[in-house]
Every structure is written in C-alpha cells, then in structure tokens.
C-alpha cells in the first residue's frame, strides 16, 4: 500500500500504519521505558499487590494456606465489624480527631501566614519563619518524647510550674480528658509553621494594586486581610482542604500509637492502631483487613465527594 505523503493536508493513516507509528514512538523511547521500569515495578509490588491482598477481608485467611488456599466467608467480617461496639467507639474517636484537625489545626497555618505577611521587617520575618519550621523535621517519637518529659508528674517542667503557682498537678499522660487537647496541640506545634509555606507563597502572588485600592477606600489592615488576602488565596485553601479531607481516616498511626495507653484507649483508639493491635498483635488478619478496607473506601469516597463539591462551586479541585 502506498503511504500518503501529501504535504499540507492531514495525513490519513491506515490502521496498520498507525500501529507502526505507535511502535516507532515506543521504540524511540525504549531507554525511557527502561528508566521508569524499576519505579513502576515498585508501585506494582508494594502498592497494587496489597490492593489485591484486600480480598483476604472476604476470606478466613490462614497464613499457611495463603490467599489461594484460604476459605471464602463473604461479608462475615464486615457483619462482625458493624456489630462490634469497639468498632463504633473507634469510628467515633476517628471522626472526633478528624473534626478537631479540620476545625482547629487546619486554620492555624492560614492565620500564621496572614500574620507573617503583615510583618514589615524582612529580617524578623525570615527569622520567625526559620524557627517555626523546625518542629516539622522532628519525628513523632521526638515530639511525643519531649511532651512526655515535660508533662510527666515525676519532675516534668509543666507540673513543676503548676505546683509553684499553687495549682493542682495534672496527670496529662494518663487522664483521658487531656488526650484530645494534647493530640491537637502536638499537631499544631509540629505542623503549623511548615503549613504556612504554601499559604505565604499564595499571598505573595496577590496583586499589590488591590491593596492600594482598598487603602484608598479606607480599609484598615484587618479589613484588607479579610476582603483581599483571604479571597485571593481561597483556591489554595480549598485544594488543601480537599487533600486534608482525603486524609480523613489517616490520622497518623505513629502519633496516636505513641500516645495510646490503657487508660486513654476509650478516646484514643483509632482505625490504624486497632488494625495494628487486632491484626499483627492478635493475628486476626482477615478481620483487621476488613477494618482497613472500610477505612480506605470511606476515605476515597470522601475525597471524590469533596472534589466534586469544590468543582460545583467553581473551584479547580485536585483532579
């Protein structure tokens, strides 16, 4: 068959020629495929095979029988899940901690970024920024350990101060009432400074003329923040909020696991810590996989929903 080599007109290619063209492109990039192969293999083995492994949630998985040999039990584990009072306790704890994160720790970096942006002394601004990023690079173990040595009844600095001010000492580490405040304060301490980076960048990109116009209209600094800066960074806030919602059930295994003890379990046990204890500690592989599966599905649905909602209101969303 003669190939159409007309210049200036759109080429009409036959199926075979299109396939050849595709092959040519793929062959041209054979080294590139070789480059990405190890990376893709990694994602396949350690991300996609575990997704396939989720089917043990529908089996009575026995390690010596494997996935192919274990008996199928359908939705039994899920039925047990919804009948288990512990499950609802964990569900409630997860939701409460998530709500605290969205309502309390999420807005803190936005406020901090607004305040930092108002600093007129650049050197002071840079110093503050440098300092507030530091805790982000500490592990949760370090953050929790520092809290422990400061909060312990046994000579911790906070209780020493309380005592010298004639207040009662507080057992922060074992008292369930203190778990949530401690959890959220640690998150703010570790992440708030780091979180300002993105908001600050968005604020710097705001057109300065808008501020000039507002000043002429007599807006003071607070009003300028409210009516110009905040609306200008709205889309960034929304994208980050969607991402946060996507993490709804990813509250951080490490952080909670480190704070968890038998006296605050009522308020501290979340899906991840429960999966760890029930699954790896007690060997209930199938049941705890069902718990994890439930968590993953809820998270996926929420992020899709949040994204849809953002798009509906004219924002970009994350995909």
């Amino acid at each position: 068959m003669e190939s159409p080599l007309t210049v200036g007109k759109k080429q009409v290619l036959t199926k075979a020629e299109r396939r050849n063209e595709l092959w040519r492109k793929i062959k041209k990039n054979k080294w590139i495929y070789l480059m990405i192969a190890p990376g893709i293999l990694y994602f396949f083995v350690y991300k996609y095979i575990p997704m396939y492994g989720l089917i043990i949630a529908f089996q009575d998985y026995k390690p010596y029988l494997g996935i192919t040999g274990s008996e199928w039990v359908g939705f039994d584990h899920f039925r047990r899940l919804f009948a288990d009072p512990d499950f609802w306790m964990i569900f409630r704890n997860t939701l409460v901690l998530f709500a605290l994160q969205v309502c309390i720790s999420f807005p803190v970096p936005i406020i901090l970024a607004l305040m930092l942006n108002e600093l007129r002394n650049r050197a002071y601004q840079r110093t503050i920024q440098t300092v507030i990023y530091i805790p982000h690079f500490m592990s949760w173990v370090v953050i929790v350990s520092i809290s422990y040595v400061m909060l312990t009844l046994d000579g911790g600095i906070i209780n020493n101060i309380l005592r010298s001010l004639q207040f009662d000492q507080i057992n922060f580490l074992l008292n369930p009432d203190w778990f949530r405040p401690m959890y959220i304060l640690q998150i703010i301490w570790r992440e708030a400074g780091w979180g300002t980076i993105i908001f600050l960048a968005a604020i710097v990109a705001v057109d300065p003329q808008l501020y000039e116009a507002a000043k002429i209209d007599g807006a003071n600094r607070i009003r300028q923040m409210w009516h110009i800066t905040l609306p200008a960074i709205r889309s960034v806030i929304i994208v980050l909020l969607i991402l946060k919602i996507g993490d709804v059930l990813e509250l951080g295994f490490e952080h909670v696991y480190l704070l968890l003890n038998s006296s605050n379990r009522e308020v501290a046990e979340i899906f991840d810590t429960y999966v760890y204890t029930a699954g790896l500690r007690q060997g209930q592989f199938s049941y705890s996989t069902a718990v994890g599966f439930f968590k993953g599905i809820v998270g996926l649905i929420l992020v899709v929903f949040a994204n849809w909602l953002a798009k509906k209101y004219g924002e970009e969303g994350i995909y």
Binding site: N29, G39, V45, S164, V236
Partner: protein
C-alpha cells in the same frame, strides 16, 4: 490616603510582632529545655523547677548512655538506613520522574494515574505487611527502605521541576550525541540541583525519623533504629539496658538520661536544617504550586 504610619497601624504592627515572637519562642523553648536539662547535674534538676540553661555543666548523662553499645548500635542502624535509603530512593525517584516528564512518552497519562491513584487508595497495613513478608524482608533492615522506595509526592515534585527545564537543553544534548541516560545524568540532573537537594533531604529526614516500619517489620531489638529505642526509653521507660548490659558508671537521674537520648535522636536533623532550610521551602513550593 491611609498609610502605614497611622497609630492604629503601628499598634497592629507591634501586636503582630509580639504575638509571632511568642509563637516562635514556644516552638523552640521545649527543645532548649531538653538540651539544657541533658547537660544538667542531678542536683540541679532536683533543685530548679524551670530549667533552660544549666549553671553546672555535666556530661554524665551522655557518658552513661554511650557506656554500652545499645545507643551506638541503633545510631549506626539509623545512619546506615538514612544514607543507603536516601541514595536508593533518589535513584529510583529521579529515573521515574525524568521518564514521566518526557512529553513524547506513549502511555504517560496512564502511568501517572497508576502512581497518583496509590496516593488516594492503598491496601492498608495488613496486606502490605503480607507482601513485605512474602518478599522476605521481615527482620531485615531492607524492610525500612524497599517498601517505601518512592514517595509519590516527592516524585511528582521532581517531575514538575524537570518539566520546567527548557526543552532546548535536551535537544542540543541529543544532537551532540547523548542518549537518554546521558541527557539525564549529564544535563538534567546538574541543572536540577536545588530540586535534587530538597527531595534528598525530604527522604533523608523521613528515613532518619523512621519508626512505624521498624515496629511493624523488625522483631530483633539489635536492629532497632534510634527512634524505636527512644520510645523504649522515654515513653515506655524500660531503660536502655534491655539487653542486660553492665554499666560502668553510676546512673545519673533518669530524667537527664531521657533528655540526652532525645537530643541524640534529634541532633542529626538539627545539624542539617540551617544549611538547607532555604531549599526545603523552595522545594515544597514547587510541589504545591505545580503538582
């Protein structure tokens, strides 16, 4: 015109500066307290309720924790995992990011989706544990590295950076006879050093801080990285002589020992930080704005 010189504006500035100053202090004071107490003598800790800088300087706590192999061994594990893991992760991340940054690559959109989807949904702890077990990594230090080889987010930041390099660079290198690997290693990487440095440090910090994978996959206490040891000593208060080692010196007060272990587990990150802070901020921006 309402300028920056009005009284209300000055009050606003002053309040703002003071509040931010206090916040910054709250971020660092706990660290100062921990470092200060780790160098204090037992008598001073008992006497003073609020200690930032010790008046009598003492190295007893450090002498004590370094008098057995326990800490040294776990520091060795952490350093090895951090160095090896960072090199391994960067190699694979750069290769993948560069490949996927090439606009003429057939199947690129599908492969990106294949990777991004893993950020939205994953198999979770137990199925992942089973795969790690099947691949023979339980109780091997490789378990801290191989299952987290590429962080999808880091890879995407690198890829955005590569995509923003001028297209002419690649073409001229190819005309000069470079193949794709040549282009990557001779042209693209040298031109991307800020991004490479940033992402390397993200990986290094993650590996230094690794904890969860160690408790999931390592049963042998001799292989514990320093973060796991830190938890044993501070949170569980099991002491550092779990292996029954003999101590040569008299134990200093428990609290300054705990402080010293926290310092040891933190110092490497603190050392790296001031030099590379500017890169961290830049790198995080590339990712957030163009991800």
């Amino acid at each position: 015109m309402v300028g920056d010189k009005t009284i209300s504006s000055r009050i606003f500035n002053a309040t703002n500066m003071i509040i931010l100053g206090i916040i910054a202090l709250l971020c660092v004071l706990p660290f100062v307290h921990v470092i200060g107490s780790s160098f204090a003598t037992g008598a001073e800790i008992a006497r003073r309720s609020f200690l930032l800088f010790p008046t009598e300087f003492s190295l007893d706590a450090y002498r004590y924790i370094f008098s057995t192999d326990t800490i040294i061994r776990s520091l060795g594990v952490s350093i090895g995992v951090t160095l090896g893991g960072t090199i391994w992760s960067m190699l694979l991340s750069v290769l993948t990011a560069y490949g996927l940054s090439r606009r003429d690559l057939v199947g690129r959109r599908f492969l990106m989706f294949f990777i991004v989807f893993t950020m939205l949904f994953n198999g979770g702890m137990i199925p992942t544990f089973l795969v790690v077990q099947q691949t023979g990594l339980i109780d091997s230090l490789l378990a801290l590295v191989i299952p987290v080889t590429i962080n999808a987010f880091n890879m995407i930041i690198l890829r955005s950076f590569f995509m923003n390099l001028p297209a002419g660079l690649e073409e001229s290198a190819k005309i000069d006879g470079c193949n794709d690997f040549g282009v990557l290693f001779r042209i693209v990487i040298p031109c991307s050093l800020p991004a490479i440095a940033t992402i390397s440090l993200f990986y290094a910090v993650t590996y230094w801080n690794t904890y969860m994978h160690a408790i999931l996959y390592l049963n042998d206490p001799n292989k514990w990285p320093v973060q796991v040891l830190l938890r044993q000593i501070v949170v569980l208060a099991t002491g550092i002589n779990y292996d029954g080692a003999e101590y040569t010196s008299v134990p200093p007060p428990e609290i300054s020992v705990k402080m010293a272990v926290i310092v040891v587990a933190t110092v490497p990150v603190l050392l790296v930080y001031p030099f590379l802070q500017k890169y961290f901020a830049k790198g995080a921006l590339i990712g957030s704005m163009k991800g």
